[in-house]
Amino acid sequence: MEALREATAELTVYVHPSNAADVRLAVSRQLSTLLFSYEDRFDGVLLSHEVEFEGDNEDVLDGLVPYFGVPVTANMLLFSPQPEMILEGKVEMLGKESIHAIVLGVFSAAIMADDIPEMFKFKRRGHGGKFISQSDKRHVIKKGSMIRFSVKRVDTEMNCHITGSLMPPHTGCMRWLSVHDAEYASEISSGKRKPRDHTKSEQKVQGRTTANREDSMVNSERPRKSRKRAVGE
């Protein structure tokens, strides 16, 4: 899954004094409030986190708000889909004009009729309907199929809804692809991924400075991201 990546960030988490007895728990809880939401700072959706504490320095923030800031280093697993990425999802609902799939069990993706190749014909009969490719009758997309699709657009405002497309090559039902698509098959058997061009997005990230906002509980000073790609599934 290309969109998954690990990142390390140095953060300052502000903790209320009432939680001073168990700071680790408080920090963990605070970070957990960010789960499954798209965060601009991280440029992705936080899926999981693991914190390490640096020393015992807990600075009291003077001023009106007596929270104390705890510097932590967080290892985070982020999901940041970008256009042109290839994602895999499980089909949940089908219609003549759309395919709805779920990525990683959490994110909804929709592929509209315009982005489904002409060769796929929709058959309404049978349990929810299915798409069958005219060129190869065995290429079937139905409810429960795992499909590969490319990302067209990501709506990060609310729930990270993905609009996808089946037009690009090497997309479609994974089961069929693993047998009939030579390139994909070799990819998965060798366990490597084709390097994707992400330089554009890299620059975008590094150029940005994050503002220190008083009201936000997690302040990332400068997310230093080590982009280790998730290899294989």
Partner: protein, 677 residues
């Protein structure tokens, strides 16, 4: 606004509309008339005529759908630009389509069919809908009250909503809001739900819940949003009763299991919050039927309780009074809904919900000061599966009592709950009671030991200890007799160190409520449990100074959460499992065949028959004397009904005054079953 005449007319039409239009004799193959797509599209009537002429075979159905779809698609596309750029003809078409989707106007049969067709076409064309350009269209869709729709139309509409929600995030909130808005039926005159709505309720609810489930399957993060929406849309305290009940009923029907942890226990927690809020808003003034003497410390006897199952005067009288209170009515209705929901669950789900309820109980209900009826949902849940849940709840409460880390208020409250629960729940077996009592007694003994190592501390610090002792005595007042019937339990009980406890310098017998102490001692003496050591003088202490100073305004020890239930409608869920004091067999049982009973007691092998014989006789005799003596000792005039009862009571025994009023006004909950003496 929809006229009232229309809904009934519509339901009559349902049967006609549900069946498809008859197949036309001449079948038209192929797409009917290419002119639709190129030339000027037909008007509404012509369109309908066209559609209806089609064959009902699937192919033709598909053709018809595809015609509609293409039309809709075209119309949507044509207005997808700045308003001033749109050709007037296109605008006209669009307006006509929007007009068909407007449900505020009544529809004839043709319009209805067209409406359904449009809905189906829109379901497929969702990706073509734009939030800005097709604003009025979306408005009409989201404003629909599905209660007024025909069944087929409703299905088509819900399908559209589901697809809208799945296609893009931007519609999700509106879709969910629209569905939640439809949890409540339309309310008409006199704040009642019209009868036609009532009959369709189940069907509509199941469809709504089904749609929500589909949406959450397709958009897994949707339940998070749904949770917020339900939170905001939840009925408030002063909302209409019918709306409240309908909303909660539908809410509880949501399959939260499938929706996962994002929504999980929240819904049930919200319902309990609502119940609690209604509960605390029922004031005692509403319940009290008449003025009682507000003495410093009055004894109120079980004469009030005795009428519960008897002539029903007391209970009915009270219930009539409660009826005047709107909050009580609403709470009543909601309790019915919640109990029905709990009853409908299968075993596995029931266990899951029980776990959730325990958490909710502990977080909120446990700490509500003197909640009146809301806690009975726990009672009812436990009664559904006595072995597992009933015992589980008792153990759960006991653990709170004995856990040092818990805060004092929760522990005090929990001990009141344990006492009241074990006494009043008929479905709890005697051996559970003995097990729990053992735990409580052991805790008390540990406490005493701990105290012996330290210096004497002022009494308020021992609140929990006294409360626990009192709870133990209270339970035994109700249960002693039934425990005695089991030899193994009886011996367990007799092995408990009551002697040590009651002789301890903390003197629980002096501090706990005298009425309970007296009753307990009386029964225990009959049973031979405490014969040896009790100081006769202390026995009949009505109220010692210690007892009076102990507590104060918030006498938590006088909170008996499971005292008789007073809400009319929901009473039928509670009553079968509830133990009224008047039904309790005591060890000194004074029924007409009491002689036999007492002898049975005496004949029990462990008992020393000889010594008790005299003792019992003395007891009976001295009881009356003591009673008079104690009556004279009281510095206040006893309650009117007390004397009345004494006169009526041929038994001669002193009934268990489990209900005591606190020493300060307002009158306590036991005045609830107030009735004229």
């Amino acid at each position: 606004s929809l006229s009232l005449a229309s809904p009934p007319a519509k339901t009559l039409e349902t049967s006609r509309l549900a069946s498809p239009p008859p197949p036309c004799p001449s079948r038209r193959a192929g797409i009917p008339s290419a002119t639709h797509l190129t030339g000027r599209p037909p008007g509404a009537e012509a369109m309908v005529a066209e559609l209806r002429r089609d064959d009902m075979a699937e192919e033709a159905g598909t053709i018809r759908d595809s015609v509609a779809f293409r039309l809709v698609e075209r119309v949507l596309q044509s207005v997808r630009m700045e308003p001033f750029l749109i050709a007037p003809y296109d605008l006209e078409q669009y307006r006509m389509m929007v007009g068909t989707l407007d449900t505020s106007r009544t529809k004839n049969r043709d319009d209805e069919a067209l409406y359904v067709t449009y809905l189906k076409a829109l379901s497929e064309a969702v990706s073509k809908i734009d939030i800005t350009y097709h604003h009025s269209l979306l408005n009409n869709i989201f404003a629909v009250r599905i209660w007024y729709l025909q069944r087929d139309t409703m299905v088509a509409l819900l399908d559209l909503i589901t697809r809208l929600a799945a296609v893009a995030d931007q519609y999700l909130r509106e879709c969910l809001q629209m569905l939640v808005n439809n949890f409540t039926p339309p309310i008409v005159e006199r704040n009642e739900v019209p009868t036609w709505a009532v009959s369709r309720k189940k069907d509509i609810f199941s469809h709504l819940c089904g749609s929500l489930k589909t949406i959450s399957d397709t958009v897994p993060l949707a339940p998070r949003m749904l949770r917020d929406i339900i939170d905001r849309s939840m009925p408030k305290l002063f909302d209409n009763k019918a709306k409240m009940i309908s909303f909660v009923e539908c809410m509880l029907g949501l399959d939260t299991d499938r929706m996962g942890d994002l929504i999980g226990a929240i819904l049930l927690a919200k319902v309990v919050d609502l119940l609690t809020e209604l509960d605390v808003n029922i004031t005692w003034e509403d319940i009290l039927q008449e003025e009682h003497d507000k003495g410093i410390f009055e004894m109120e006897l079980e004469d009030l309780d005795a009428d519960d199952d008897g002539d029903g005067f007391g209970q009915a009288g009270t219930k009539v009074c409660l009826g005047g209170n709107a909050c009580a009515e609403k709470l009543d209705g909601l309790m019915v809904v919640v109990c029905e929901h709990l009853k409908s669950l299968d075993r596995q789900r029931l266990y899951k919900e029980f776990v959730i309820l325990k958490t909710i109980f502990r977080a909120s209900l446990l700490r509500v000061h003197r909640s009146k009826f809301a806690q009975f949902i726990m009672f009812y849940t436990c009664s559904l599966d006595p072995k597992t849940l009933g015992e589980g709840f008792a153990v759960f409460l006991t653990d709170i009592v004995t856990e040092k880390k818990e805060d004092p208020i929760s522990r005090m409250s929990a001990v009141s709950y344990v006492g009241s629960y074990l006494s009043r729940a008929r479905f709890i077996s005697a051996d559970t009671v003995v097990t729990i009592l053992k735990k409580l007694v052991d805790w008390c003994v540990d406490y005493c030991d701990h105290q012996s190592k330290r210096e004497a501390t002022p009494i308020p610090n021992h609140q929990l200890f006294y409360a626990t002792c009192q709870a133990v005595m209270y339970v035994l007042c109700f249960r002693l007799r039934s425990i005695m019937d089991y030899p193994n339990l009886k011996s367990d009980l007799f092995h408990m160190p009551f002697g040590f406890l009651f002789r301890h310098r903390l003197e629980p017998l002096k501090v706990c409520l005298p009425s309970i102490v007296n009753e307990f001692l009386r029964q225990a003496k009959d049973a031979g449990l405490v014969a040896a050591f009790v100081d006769p003088a202390a026995e009949d202490a009505i109220e010692s100074d210690l007892s009076r100073t102990f507590g104060g305004i918030n006498r938590l020890d006088m909170f008996f959460p499971f005292d008789p239930y007073l809400l009319k409608e929901s009473d039928r869920y509670i009553r079968p499992n509830f133990e009224f004091w008047s039904m309790v067999k005591t060890t000194y049982s004074d029924d007409t065949d009491d002689d036999d009973d007492e002898l049975e007691d005496l004949d029990a092998p462990e008992m020393n028959v000889g010594s008790l014989d005299d003792h019992v006789e003395i007891d009976i005799n001295s009881d009356d004397d003591d009673l008079e003596y104690s009556m004279n000792k009281m510095s206040i005039t006893p309650h009117h009904s007390f004397l009345h009862q004494m006169a009526m009571d041929s038994d001669g025994g002193l009934s268990m005054p489990a209900r005591i009023r606190p020493s300060t006004s307002p009158p306590s909950r036991w005045a609830m079953s107030g009735e004229s003496p």
